[in-house]
């Protein structure tokens, strides 16, 4: 399924809604969106993943990149990820570095 991303930046919160499948092709699109906000005073990155059906390590690398590019104070919230994506975050230990929530604001 084709990947789509929508972004909204408001009050130092960048919200991205991800749809479809995040692989090494679509991760480039995701990373480009992150690069656009890298120089802005963002303190929270909110990723709505309810409609994201697949995420490979290329997607994980963008999460790592986000934190390294925007800065250690960035909080990353993942909203309603599908169970199999939570599995991937858990297996790779990334669930400790993000906050998984049912909605944002929490």
């Amino acid at each position: 399924m084709a990947f789509q991303i929508e972004s909204l930046i408001q009050d130092q919160v960048a919200t991205f809604t991800l749809h479809g499948e995040l692989d090494s092709l679509s991760a480039r699109v995701f990373q480009t969106e992150i690069e656009k906000i890298a120089n802005q005073p963002i303190d929270s990155l909110v990723l709505d993943m309810e409609d994201l059906n697949f995420m490979s390590s290329a997607g994980l690398r963008v999460l790592i990149y986000s934190k390294q590019k925007i800065g250690p104070k960035l909080s990353i919230y993942i909203v309603r990820p599908q169970e199999l994506i939570v599995d991937t975050l858990t297996k790779t230990g990334l669930q400790h570095s993000v906050t998984i929530v049912d909605q944002y604001p929490v």
């Binding site: 399924m1 084709a2 499948e21 692989d23 090494s24 092709l25 697949f54 490979s56 390590s57 290329a58 994980l60 690398r61 999460l63 790592i64 990149y65 986000s66 934190k67 390294q68 250690p72 990353i76 199999l84 599995d87 991937t88 297996k91 790779t92 230990g93 990334l94 400790h96 570095s97 993000v98």
Partner: protein, 141 residues
Amino acid sequence: MESKSFPGTVDSLDALREYIGELSQRAGLAKKPTYNLKLAVDEIATNIILYGYQAPGIEADFQVLSEISDQALVVILEDIAAPFDPLAKELPNAQDLTLSLEERGIGGLGIFLTINGVDEFSYEYANGKNRNKFVMKITAT
């Protein structure tokens, strides 16, 4: 064995995952093992495409061979890139996986997910081809 060919570009990954989904369905795999197999094949195919073909400027296809038996779904990715054994690379260890995002290296996660997601993964180089083999056991329901 069934065989299907894909162009060695990242645009093929979507169709590749769809094909793995079809094979999994025919083999009767449940949702979770289907996802894990798709993820594993996607990770290895990505490495073949980006590092085996695109980096050295090779334009070539890769093949997906598959076989469904009562016991297992076997998928083999075959490519003609330079020999590359994904198992030879050092995987992230338990300590690496506890590191925070700021401290993380970005390599090795794909192969880690591959090995963790399938029942068996093996690699061989034979007749000028890399062969990455994935086995998903079929459990009687």
